[in-house]
Symmetry: C2
Subunit: 154 residues, 2 copies
């Protein structure tokens, strides 16, 4: 049976290529790290979800943009950013206007409420990052962010 074959291979090779341990796979740990971050985020910023926050923060950073473009800036595909914008719009945190020259485009920008909200939340967002990284020393944090960025950008 494959169980015995597997044991043989484990004993033979140093790397034990066959010993698949789920809890050591990047994807699995990445998912758990994400879960922990989401939980910290939710405990500090209950008004918005992380994607909603990202969209508002980006709008605050770059000003008015088209919906799809905003999606690219916050790494969400067209279908996803649409849902996020819809929910922000329903709460009047963003304003949608038609683009002047290109009638396909929908220009998104912050409403006054949206601007006030994001300004109020920015300090909390920094706290979220800090608490998420709390298990690491400052030195480890720097290393981690560097490597994580490399990984994310392929």
């Amino acid at each position: 049976m494959s169980g015995e074959q597997s044991k043989l291979r484990v004993l033979a090779g140093g790397k034990s290529a066959d010993a698949y341990d789920l809890s050591e796979q990047v994807g699995f740990i990445l998912r758990k790290a994400n879960q922990r971050h989401l939980s910290i985020f939710a405990s500090r910023i209950s008004d918005l979800t992380p994607p909603q926050f990202a969209a508002l923060a980006k709008l605050y950073e770059v000003g008015a943009t088209s919906q799809n473009q905003l999606g690219q800036l916050v790494a969400m595909d067209a279908a996803t950013i649409k849902g996020v914008i819809d929910r922000l719009k329903a709460r009047d945190l963003v304003v949608l206007e038609p683009h002047g020259r290109d009638r396909r485009r929908l220009v998104v920008s912050l409403s006054d409420d949206g601007k006030a909200l994001i300004e109020a939340l920015l300090p909390d967002a920094l706290d979220v990052s800090e608490e998420t990284l709390a298990p690491l020393t400052p030195r480890e944090t720097a290393t981690f962010l560097r490597l994580l960025t490399k990984l994310a950008e392929g």
Copy 2:
């Protein structure tokens, strides 16, 4: 106004605590790293989603368990693992039986098909991890996994 205060703080503190750059926040980069991994996973293992794979791999590792327990092992809450198991069950990759002594429990185990599938996919799963980590050197990979684990476990 908070704009000017903010500038003062930026000039005062070395860390420029107020200059919020979304693309430098852990949560945002974590989400992008996860996206890249998901995309690699999907390109190599189209038969299963990562949560489905995790459930099968864990079942292969530990044998029969209750539904909720399996959820804990793969870091999914009761509602989430139920959906995952439902879909695996619909494809006859797992078998559900009532627990003997505890009538609340539902014992989940691999079907023959499920076992065959997971055995066939394990090498691909290792490839997924490898490709995900490809942007890092072996030394960086070791460091990264150590720090990521620390982060995930809080």
